[in-house]
Amino acid sequence: MSFEWPWQYNFPPFFTLQPNVDTRQKQLAAWCSLVLSYCRHRKLYTLDVLEAQESPVFNNKKIERKLSVEAIQVVFEELRKKGNLEWLDKNKSRCLIMWRRPEEWGKLIYQWALQADGKAEMITMDDGKGVKFF
């Protein structure tokens, strides 16, 4: 199944960071959902910033537009604020993409466990990402 690009992907202004604050917010929201859905589709869990520039997500060869490195950083920061991204290193060159946030995973697994076994206990570990099974 090929990935369905949203309408913004073929809209040239999408690849320019908008100065108008309201417009920018909408733009960034669209970017965030695009990145997440693309990663989910391709089962990508980590992204490298330098490689990302050449990835089809940020580089639309058909309309000859690509997102600048600064803009990619802004999008990543937005994702991080939302909880969908974590930097794996201090230099911010590699990151972990969580197209399902940990809490969402936790809930899913919990429900599956309940279904499957009938018995499961949710235990939170230090980083809040754990579920213990019996």
């Binding site: 809209f11 040239p12 202004p13 690849f15 908008q18 108008n20 417009t23 669209a30 000859e64 537009r65």
Partner: protein, 359 residues
């Protein structure tokens, strides 16, 4: 030291030159401060003798006969009544100038006559050459004092001018107050005339207390003239013109008596208060335009949006061509539309394009 005798500089028969050294200082015993001096009051007259081939420049100083109560010096009696200072290493011009100054000032006549003490502060006639670093320091000090004096002299004129100006302002203020008080006594005409004089001199009118800045008569008239003149061009150009365009247009039309940019800006600022149908407007980017009052920004933006939507996308140049505006103004309009959220931008190597905001 009373054992010095005059001699010529040549070697006698039984003398040989052992060593010659410059820059040697003479001490009287352990007393450093000894030098010979001639009081300037003794000087009748002095002149320059130009340098020749093999001869250095000289200053010849003619002196009064020695007074009775003269302190002991190197030679009690001399057949000449003048001395010559030979400047082997130049410096005679400055020396001559200073000597001239001192002789005209005759400062010694102001100070009480003190016994000439041979302690280092010899008058300038005694010092033919700067003596090492001390001499240089003294020269620097004198130069500094000289500069100080010159500067304070120069500013003396200015301070006099300031005083006069203050008097003028006081005078006009007092007259204006008198007018205010005696409102009934002075006729209307005279009051108006006087007020117009005050205005034309640039002094704010205290009687009416107008708050729209210090509008002078000239700017007011100019604003009215501009109001008449700019109506037609503005309508041709869609109701808006950059201030630079206005400047060029106006000055070209005037031929002579050209306007300065400052006058133009000040006149334009008065459009609103004079209830003229023009306005001076400043954009965020600092661009200043003159526009017709009837010109509505919302209409302009709505029409801009239509234009852009029709064509899909537009650059500032294309938009300018479409409307017959200058590129600068076209860009300003597009930027304004973007600010209001109607348009969004596409910045790429191809240039800056504007699209309708579909976000």
């Amino acid at each position: 030291m009373d054992r010095f005798v005059w001699t010529n500089g040549l070697l006698e028969m039984n003398e040989t030159l052992v060593i010659q050294q410059r820059g040697v200082r003479l001490y009287d015993g352990d007393d450093k401060e000894c030098c010979i001096c001639i009081p300037l009051s003794q000087v009748i007259f002095f002149e320059e003798q130009a340098a020749g081939i093999g001869k250095s420049a000289k200053i010849v100083i003619h002196l009064h006969p020695a007074p009775e109560n003269k302190e002991p010096g190197p030679y009690q009696h001399s057949k000449y009544s003048y001395i010559k200072l030979s400047f082997k290493e130049h410096g005679q011009i400055e020396f001559f100038r200073r000597l001239t100054e001192e002789m005209t000032q005759k400062r010694w006549e102001n100070t009480p006559v003190s016994q000439p003490i041979p302690t280092g502060i010899g008058p300038k006639a005694g010092r033919t050459r700067a003596v090492g670093i001390v001499g240089i320091e003294r020269k620097l000090e004198e130069k500094r004092k000289e500069t100080d004096k010159n500067i304070s002299e120069a500013f003396e004129d200015l301070s006099k001018l300031m005083e006069k100006a203050k008097e003028m302002v006081e005078l006009s203020k007092s007259i204006a107050n008198k007018i205010k008080d005696k409102q009934g006594d002075i006729t209307e005409d005279e009051t108006i005339r006087f007020k117009s004089y005050l205005l034309s001199m640039g002094i704010a009118n205290p009687v009416t207390r107008e708050t729209h800045g210090s509008g002078t008569q000239y700017h007011i008239q100019l604003a009215k003239q501009l109001g008449d003149m700019l109506q037609a061009p503005l309508e041709e150009r869609g109701g808006m013109m950059a201030l630079t365009e206005v400047y060029c247009l106006v000055n070209r039309a005037r031929g002579m008596e050209l306007l300065s940019p400052e006058d133009l800006v000040n006149a334009c600022k008065m459009f609103e208060s004079l209830k003229l149908p023009l306005r001076l407007r400043v954009f965020d980017s600092g661009v200043m335009v003159v526009q017709l009052q009837s010109h509505s920004e919302e209409e302009m933006i709505a029409s801009a949006l239509d234009n852009v939507s029709d064509k899909g996308s537009l650059t500032a140049e294309e938009f300018a061509k479409l409307l017959g505006l200058s590129v600068l103004l076209a860009k300003e309009r597009l930027l304004l539309a973007e600010k209001m959220g109607h348009l969004c931008r596409d910045d790429s190597v191809e240039g800056l394009r504007f699209y309708p905001n579909r976000f």
